[in-house]
Amino acid sequence: AKRPKREITVGSQVSIRSKVHYVAPGDVITTDIGFMRGHGTYLYEGELIASVAGIVERVNRLICVRPLKSRYNGEIGDVVVGRIIEVQQKRWKVETNSRLDSVLQLSSINLPGGVLRRRSIQDELMIRDYLKEGDLISAEVQHVNTDGSLSLHTRSMKYGKLTEGTLVIVPSSLVKRCKNHFHNLLCGVSIILGNNGFVWISPIVIDDNQQYVLRFQLPSAPGASSVESNIKPVTRDERETISRLRNCVLALTHQKIMLFDTTIQYTYDSSQKYEVKDLLKPEVMEDITTSARHVGID
């Protein structure tokens, strides 16, 4: 088959501010064979061809293609939102939309009773009382193992088990890497933009002290559900705001715009003139994301 003739000479003009080079599978990246082949490329008849759809990245003599849509690749320090899928003896397996399940050790969480408490056999037996299958947590990537799986930790007040709210799953490449991923928006709702594409929207828990108590709160009686604890119920207005924000996030995803607090705030403000349920229509999605589009292009 004839290959497309669009060739890109990767030379000295490639800098941070230069044009972005998009390739599709089968596109020729370069015919210069002096380059090392990175991920997403292969050599065929003396030409370097892209095997995935994405952006060409060049580091000195290494060329690779970063795919636009792929599983989440974790890096140390990333904030992730994950779901517990397995409870093992001293650790939990967490689903973070990456190639391998992530691991959360029992020693990596904050237990009630102080940060420096030793983990005892008692803790191992009660492991399901802390976190069981299906629970959602926010955590930070502590360490990337040799096989690529992530080790998580929740050793900070802002991480821990997530209570009432909604989860939205978006492609991980659309979540912009920022200094802060926990945002308390002006509308009274807090949003956690996990780097892995899991976005958690929930009402703001006002008291910081109270927030610590709610995380990992052990049930009052053995076997009792931890849901009936003293969390104040979500009001109808808060639910509407949460649903509106959820639909805004989905609209931004649909229009392939990067997600960070500015784009979400702009989209939320533009969406005020519509009803929450109308935000699911494609033409409305286009309309509310126009102002965010200009910010998100960078």
Binding site: G134, D135, E164, G165, P233, R239, L280
Partner: protein, 155 residues
């Protein structure tokens, strides 16, 4: 026939958030309990049928064609016409439908549809009768499920 369309575990808190929301008539995406999702409906898509339609409901895509033929009515119901349903869950609809796996769901849906349409308030089967006891119209309704995420029955 138990068929798990989308299986996802939920935490207790998420579950209670959703159920309490439904009690207040507000679902997770802001719709009320009786509000529809956005869907697109096109008619006249298949050329060699009497009538056809295609519905797209958020990544669930179903094409339906209706052909009318003349035949014999059922002996027990000589005054009414007939509707025959056939649902084909094609293999490209979902990874679970590889090979012949989709036949079970297809037969189940066809059976449910024929049960529903037996009720004369849905469609007036007596109007399909030509000569009572001898000839009637038979409507063959064929549904092809091209892509499925959920709400097959609803679509």
């Amino acid at each position: 026939v138990l068929f798990k369309m989308a299986y996802r575990t939920l935490s207790d808190h998420e579950r209670s958030y959703i159920t309490r929301g439904v009690q207040e008539d507000i679902r997770a995406d802001g719709r009320g309990c009786i509000d529809y999702r956005h869907f697109e409906l096109c008619t006249g898509v298949v050329s060699n049928t009497s009538g056809s339609a295609e519905i797209k409901l958020e990544r669930t895509n179903i094409t339906v064609g209706v052909k009318a033929e003349i035949g014999n009515p059922l002996p027990l119901q000589p005054n009414r016409g007939r509707i025959e349903f056939f649902v084909d869950c094609s293999a490209l609809a979902s990874p679970e439908f590889q090979g012949r796996e989709g036949e079970g769901l297809g037969q189940h849906l066809a059976y449910r549809l024929s049960e529903i349409y037996q009720n004369s308030r849905c469609i007036d089967l007596e109007s399909l009768s030509i000569i009572p006891g001898q000839q009637c119209w038979i409507l063959y309704v064929d549904a092809l499920v091209m892509e499925i995420i959920f709400c097959c029955m609803e679509s």
